[in-house]
């Protein structure tokens, strides 16, 4: 497949069910973003406590369950809010994918929350919940089936097409 055909193929994929690679990459970006925000948040809280009380706070391993619980709540809030508010997380926005209802219509906020609550199930079951992304025609994971959602490619196709035309013009020896 030549370069132009490749570009046409991915621009033309708009509205199709997103595959495993796009979703995994989006999730990886989200893990980095959410972890960074969490770390910043913890550092901020520690700093504020130190300023207000004059005591330095250290996070002991004894408190690891509490820290893990706070982290779990934070992750739930991060994904739940993003899916409920706009159907996409920062990672999904970067990769150009979006959560929609199974019929393709816009996601309801409560479905976003249900999806976030069901998401750990896909992990807890030895990751088998994600098998649907690979094996199903609709690439729906367990949490998608529970929440009645699907993930599709949804990017600014017009902008992508124009950028593609501009790149083609730059590659062309005669320019535009």
């Amino acid at each position: 497949m030549n370069r132009r055909a490749g570009e046409a193929a991915w621009i033309g994929a708009l509205g199709h069910y997103a595959g495993a690679a796009s979703r995994f990459l989006a999730y990886a970006v989200d893990v980095i973003v959410s972890w960074s925000l969490y770390t910043l948040g913890v550092a901020g809280v520690t700093f504020v406590i130190k300023i207000v009380t004059g005591r330095s706070v250290t996070w002991h391993p004894d408190n690891s369950i509490i820290v893990a619980a706070i982290f779990a709540v934070w992750e739930l809030a991060y994904f739940g809010y993003c899916w409920a508010a706009g159907g996409r997380t920062p990672g999904m926005a970067l990769l150009g994918v979006r959560v929609v209802r199974a019929d393709g219509t816009e996601i309801d906020p409560w479905r976003g929350v249900v999806r976030a609550l069901a998401f750990p199930l896909s992990i807890i079951l030895f990751g088998l919940g994600f098998a649907g992304i690979l094996l199903q025609r609709e690439h729906r994971a367990l949490h998608d089936l529970i929440a009645g959602t699907a993930v599709v490619y949804a990017w600014d196709a017009r902008g992508a097409r124009l950028r593609s035309l501009a790149r083609a013009a730059r590659r062309s020896p005669s320019g535009l």
């Binding site: 490749g6 570009e7 193929a9 991915w10 994929a13 708009l14 509205g15 199709h16 069910y17 997103a18 595959g19 495993a20 690679a21 796009s22 990459l25 159907g87 970067l94 990769l95 150009g96 979006r98 929609v100 209802r101 199974a102 019929d103 393709g104 219509t105 816009e106 690979l134 094996l135 025609r137 609709e138 699907a150 599709v152 490619y153 949804a154 990017w155 600014d156 196709a157 017009r158 902008g159 992508a160 124009l162 950028r163 593609s164 035309l165 501009a166 790149r167 013009a169 730059r170 535009l176």
Partner: protein, 135 residues
């Protein structure tokens, strides 16, 4: 007889005659549509020497009369120029998305082959939100 006719024709002042003729009245009696129907435009155009015609066109003068602003407003050309000078980030995002979609399609093909399933069929949900904004 022919000799007489020749003498008459020679003695006529054709220019004088044309000046006296009411050309407008004459043209009003001509059925232009009927004339055009008899004209073979393809044959006519095939006889036109486009190179010679274009040589006579003052392209520079023509370009000065083009309303670039209007063209940019009514077509995607302006957007293409903007996109061509767009930031590197957009290009990088396009590349990442393109690579990810290519990987998705490759994985799909492997899975279809593994499961001995026919490729194609359902590729997306029946409707998509913000279709107008994103297409």
């Amino acid at each position: 007889m022919e000799r007489v006719l020749d003498l008459v024709v020679q003695s006529l002042d054709v220019n004088e005659l044309v000046q006296q003729a009411d050309v407008n009245r004459l043209l009003s009696r001509v059925d232009v549509n009927a004339v055009l129907e008899k004209v073979d435009l393809d044959a006519l155009l095939s006889r036109v020497d486009l190179d010679a015609l274009l040589d006579r066109v003052d392209v520079n003068r023509l370009i000065t009369r083009v309303d670039i602003d209007s063209i940019a407003q009514h077509t995607d050309i302006g957007a293409v120029f903007v996109a061509s000078s767009g930031n590197m980030a957009s290009g990088a995002v396009d590349i990442v998305r393109g690579q990810a979609v290519a990987a998705d399609q490759r994985i799909d093909r492997w899975v279809h082959r593994l499961l001995r399933r026919k490729t194609g069929g359902l590729v997306g949900p029946p409707t998509l939100p913000h279709a107008e904004a994103e297409t």
